[in-house]
């Protein structure tokens, strides 16, 4: 009973220290948060640049093997981060085919790994969103004799609010994953340490205040991004743009 009480007191103390770290803008903490955001936002942007047009194209095109392509796209949504990390590691390691680029243990390698991880999520979810939209627009678009590029462009623009949620799902997956960035980034202090790898490290060291502080920032970030997208969507609903 006494041990449990002491343990709770330890956690409470750690939480108090964590909050003070966040509020004081601790330099190490800020550095880790900024790198995490840089890596995951860049990966999300690249994944959207690849996944959104791909999803739109698969949504409007009919071709042999489309069913198989859909199954593969959906299956790739569940790629295990450690496996992605391992594959990227094998390619970027000194002996690998892209080893000459010297990217291993750099933020760029982490961006590559996260992009591979979330591009299928963006493509598969956007395909579903845009296919539903295309079903509604298809006859009108055929009547207007639009080119495929015009159709894809119109679908991406008219589906923009739903696609923001898709991008958010991708970002959420990227910022929260630890396996891939740990393998290809190496969790090097002041170079490739991001929130998730830092939390894993600090927890294993027993340095709970820093781990909890990073956890608080991660949760706040997730809440903030979700709230922003929710607000935008609510505005879109008022204008009947979704």
């Amino acid at each position: 009973m006494r041990e449990a009480t002491e343990s709770l007191q330890d956690i409470a103390e750690a939480l108090r220290l964590a909050v003070s770290l966040v509020l004081s803008g601790d330099a190490d903490l800020v550095e880790i948060v900024v790198l995490s955001l840089r890596v995951s936002l860049t990966a999300t942007a690249v994944a959207c640049a690849i996944g959104l047009p791909l999803g739109a194209l698969v949504a409007v095109a009919r071709f042999p093997g489309r069913g198989t392509a859909l199954v593969v796209m959906n299956a790739l949504m569940g790629l295990p981060p450690v496996v992605v990390g391992l594959i990227v590691y094998l390619h970027l390691s000194r002996a690998g085919p892209l080893g000459f680029l010297g990217l291993l243990y750099t933020p760029t390698a982490m961006i590559v790994a996260q992009t591979i991880l979330i591009a299928p999520i963006v493509a598969a979810l956007s395909r579903q969103v845009l296919e539903d939209l295309h079903d509604e627009y298809a006859a009108q678009f055929r009547s207007l004799c639009l080119t495929r590029a015009q159709v894809v462009g119109a679908l991406l623009w008219d589906g923009r609010y739903a696609l923001m949620t898709v991008a958010l799902a991708g970002f959420g997956r990227a910022v929260a994953e630890v396996g891939a960035v740990m393998i290809v980034g190496g969790n090097i202090d002041h170079l490739t340490r991001v929130m998730t790898t830092a939390i894993a490290l600090e927890t294993s060291k027993g340095a709970l205040p820093m781990a909890l502080a990073l956890g608080i920032v991660l949760m706040a970030l997730a809440l903030g991004v979700n709230a922003a997208v929710h607000g935008l969507r609510a505005s879109a609903v008022r204008h009947a743009y979704v």
């Binding site: 409007v60 095109a61 009919r62 071709f63 295309h134 509604e136 627009y137 298809a138 006859a139 009108q140 678009f141 055929r142 009547s143 207007l144 004799c145 639009l146 080119t147 495929r148 015009q150 159709v151 119109a154 623009w157 008219d158 204008h239 009947a240 743009y241 979704v242």
Partner: protein, 254 residues
């Protein structure tokens, strides 16, 4: 990979494919389309002359809307063919036509942006937007979200969008069904103006009085077949087919 945006199955680009050549007359022969084993459009022969407004009348399920989609090239027929001034259906031919659907499908954008989209896609003068909106009585609603318009306003915007393509042939699929009288009047006025300008009009309607007001000739459809095709005065004065007589008398036609 087939192109979902292009419904055509091929075909030689004929005279009508050239922007300067006349698109009309249109000739449909033996048009047939089956749904669930039933011929919903059954060996239809139909000619459209150079000018005027043709009304397609008939009871529910007669195949009126499907016939319109076949003529416009949205559906490929299972049998038969449509030729436009001797040229087969093609993307270029459909691009010179427009179809106003019974239920307008508007983009998730403002009223003005809906028109901008078509004007840009067709490389037409963006300056046409204001005149088109004024013409359909939406000049003061350019910035409103299109999907928040009333039913009549939506249909008028759909009509403006169709006109924005500068069509030689305008198909209208029950464009005034369930609309407010003001919108009906405005749409009918525009239909008359377009007919006077030389646009060829084909309108599917349930409204017998509307067909009498607008059409130069009437095509009466029943069970997927053209039962009668006659000048409007002749059709209403002395319909030859029994189903047409029953329809005009307000009796239920099965």
């Amino acid at each position: 990979m087939s192109d979902a945006a292009l419904p055509f199955l091929g075909g030689r680009a004929g005279a009508a494919a050239s922007p300067r050549a006349p698109l009309l007359p249109m000739r449909a022969r033996g048009l047939t389309l089956r749904r669930g084993g039933v011929a919903v459009v059954d060996r239809i022969d139909l000619d459209l002359g150079l000018r005027g407004c043709t009304a397609i009348l008939g009871p529910n399920g007669a195949g009126k809307s499907l016939l319109l989609r076949l003529l416009h090239g949205l559906e490929p027929p299972e049998a038969g063919a449509v030729t436009w001034n001797g040229a087969p259906a093609s993307r270029e031919v459909t691009a010179r036509q427009a179809l106003v659907f019974q239920t307008p499908v508007l983009l998730r954008r403002s009223v003005g942006a809906n028109l901008d989209f078509v004007l840009r896609a067709r490389r037409r003068d963006r300056g046409l937007r204001a005149a088109l909106l004024d013409r359909v009585g939406l000049g003061d609603k350019a910035d409103r979200p299109a999907r928040l318009l009333s039913g009549g306003e939506k249909q008028r915007l759909a009509l403006a969008r169709a006109l924005a393509t500068g069509p030689d042939v305008l198909f209208l699929d029950e464009p005034t069904a369930s609309l407010d009288p003001g919108s009906v009047l405005m749409i009918e006025r525009i239909v008359r103006e377009e007919a006077e300008r030389g646009t060829r009009l084909v309108i599917v309607t349930h409204d017998v009085a509307q067909a009498r007001r607008l059409a130069d000739d009437v095509v009466f459809l029943h069970r997927g077949r053209v039962i009668e095709h006659a000048p409007t005065d002749t059709f209403f004065a002395a319909p030859a087919a029994e189903a047409a007589r029953d329809f005009l008398a307000g009796r239920i036609v099965l």
